[in-house]
Every structure is written in structure tokens, then in C-alpha cells.
């Protein structure tokens, strides 16, 4: 598979990443993430437990969402090396929520002869609820 790589010159502040609408977060995915991450908190896959805790139903692991956002960024920034990734969780992600990620370049700079871009990403549900905000610093070595 050939992969198109970016040149640093192609970037500028304000450039938007293509929006990505993910598949619904299914119970199977929540169980997949529980076993892949070792986070077996019952809130994520036992509906009656989640309801007893006062939730509508099962909620997604915060770090599942973080992982999906980091993939969104890296699969776009071909040829770049991730140096920093930050995530703030702002609202719960419920089972069956459909998350849409939208990112943009918020900074472009050079430091110690290395080229960097900073990307900011917002995650929203089908109801336009903002669930998290992520950001990444990516190095491009020319």
C-alpha cells in the first residue's frame, strides 16, 4: 500500500482536517475495549449496573474516545511523528452514540530545526453534544 505523505510546506494555520463520522459505539466495541485496555469497570458493559449508578445506560471509556481521536489525527497526518497528545473529557459518551471528529491546524512552528504542527480536535455526538476536546503536536522531519 502506498501512503501519501505530507510536506511541512503544505500546512498552514486554520487548515481543517476532513470531518470523520464514526460508526456507533456498540456494546461489542465497549467489551472489545475493556479487554484490550484491561479496564473492566462495569459501567462500560453492564447495563443494569450503569443504571443503578444513575446513568442512562452503558457509557464509553474516556480513553476509548481518546484512542479514536488519536487515530483520527495520525491517520490524517501521514509522515508525521506524534510528540504530544492531550485530551479533556467534557461529557459522557453513551452506548450507540455516533461521534463526529473535526480537527484543524491551530499552530505551525519550527523549534530546534524541527517542524511542528499543532492540531485541535473536537468530538460531538449525533445530538451535537461536545464530549471531548483533544490536541496533538506532530513533528515533520524534512
Amino acid at each position: 500500500m502506498s501512503v501519501k505523505k505530507f510536506n511541512f510546506e503544505e500546512f498552514s494555520e486554520g487548515i481543517e482536517l476532513p470531518e470523520v463520522k464514526n460508526n456507533p459505539i456498540t456494546r461489542v466495541q465497549l467489551i472489545d475495549y475493556a479487554s484490550a485496555s484491561g479496564d473492566y469497570n462495569l459501567l462500560h458493559f453492564d447495563e443494569s449496573f450503569a443504571k443503578k449508578a444513575g446513568l442512562k445506560g452503558c457509557i464509553a471509556h474516556g480513553m476509548l474516545q481518546a484512542g479514536m481521536i488519536s487515530s483520527y489525527i495520525l491517520n490524517w497526518a501521514k509522515g508525521g511523528i506524534l510528540r504530544n497528545f492531550k485530551i479533556r473529557f467534557l461529557d459522557v459518551v453513551n452506548e450507540n452514540d455516533i461521534l463526529t471528529f473535526k480537527g484543524k491546524i491551530v499552530n505551525k512552528y519550527q523549534e530546534n530545526n524541527e517542524n511542528f504542527i499543532e492540531i485541535s480536535v473536537v468530538s460531538k455526538t449525533q445530538e451535537n453534544r461536545i464530549t471531548s476536546q483533544g490536541s496533538a503536536i506532530i513533528a515533520f522531519i524534512s
Binding site: 466495541q29 484490550a36 485496555s37 484512542g67 495520525l74 497528545f85 492531550k86
Partner: protein, 147 residues
């Protein structure tokens, strides 16, 4: 209110050798279809020595000895809020690497917000490659515990 004596507290270091099936399982769970996580030849064609780990794979290492992390600090889950996470990456980790990682309570400060007084705890985990001693990542976790 959390005991301030925990500022600077270090958990015992842990060690793990990363298996490629764990990476593939993790990539599948976050529904990342990039072939570098599934196919060794594709990973090598893209310049990796073996199957690389996705950036948030280290989440499971962010609390050394996770089972006793909250109990040690005396954190009540009902009062806990996740304030966010930050990762710095220094070198690429791939399947077969053995990592040594250790968690330290960096700071605990008190703040007052709409919901009253709270403790803000920063917890830092540093991971390095056991064989080369090269730094791989550090992860800072911010936890909010209401009084």
C-alpha cells in the same frame, strides 16, 4: 481532603513486554484499520522495526499497580472526576519491547469551584525501554476529587 504526604509518593516500578497480539487487539478496539497494527510486513514497509503501538496504548500503564492506586491514595470513586490526560512521546515503542514504567504523585492542590472545594491531583507515569534505557513516554493524569 487527600493526605498531602502523598505529594512526591512513588509507586513501585512495573515491567511489561509488549506482545503484537495485544497491539492488534487494542487497534481493533479503537476501530483503527491502519494495516501497520495488523501486518508486520506493512509495519516494516513503513519504517517500523515491528508492529508499533498506537499512542493511547500506554493508558493501561498510567497507574502503576492500578488495582491499589485509588485505595493507596484513599480516593472515593463517587467524588472522582477525570480532569484529562496528557502524553509526551520520545521514541516509538514496538512489539517485543520491554518497558519499565513508574508512577509518581506529582502534586495535590486545593481549588474551589461551583461544586465546592476540591483536590486537583497530578499523577505522572514515565516509561522507558528496559534494554536501551531510552525514554518512551510520559503520561500526566489530572484527577479531581471533591471534598
Amino acid at each position: 481532603m487527600l493526605d498531602r504526604n502523598f505529594i512526591g509518593y512513588e509507586f513501585e516500578p512495573s515491567e511489561v513486554t509488549i506482545q503484537s497480539y495485544q497491539i492488534t487487539q487494542f487497534a481493533n478496539a479503537i476501530r483503527d484499520t491502519n494495516p501497520i497494527y495488523y501486518d508486520l510486513n506493512e509495519a516494516k514497509a513503513q519504517g517500523f522495526e515491528d508492529i508499533p503501538v498506537p499512542p493511547t496504548f500506554f493508558a493501561r500503564m498510567s497507574y502503576s499497580g492500578e488495582k491499589n492506586f485509588y485505595a493507596t491514595l484513599g480516593i472515593d470513586f463517587k467524588k472522582l472526576l477525570d480532569g484529562g490526560k496528557e502524553y509526551n512521546y520520545y521514541s516509538q515503542c514496538v512489539a517485543g519491547d520491554t518497558l519499565v514504567y513508574q508512577t509518581k504523585v506529582e502534586n495535590i492542590v486545593e481549588k474551589e469551584g461551583k461544586r465546592g472545594k476540591m483536590d486537583i491531583i497530578s499523577v505522572v507515569t514515565q516509561g522507558k525501554n528496559k534494554d536501551t534505557n531510552v525514554k518512551v513516554f510520559d503520561a500526566t493524569i489530572t484527577l479531581i476529587v471533591f471534598h
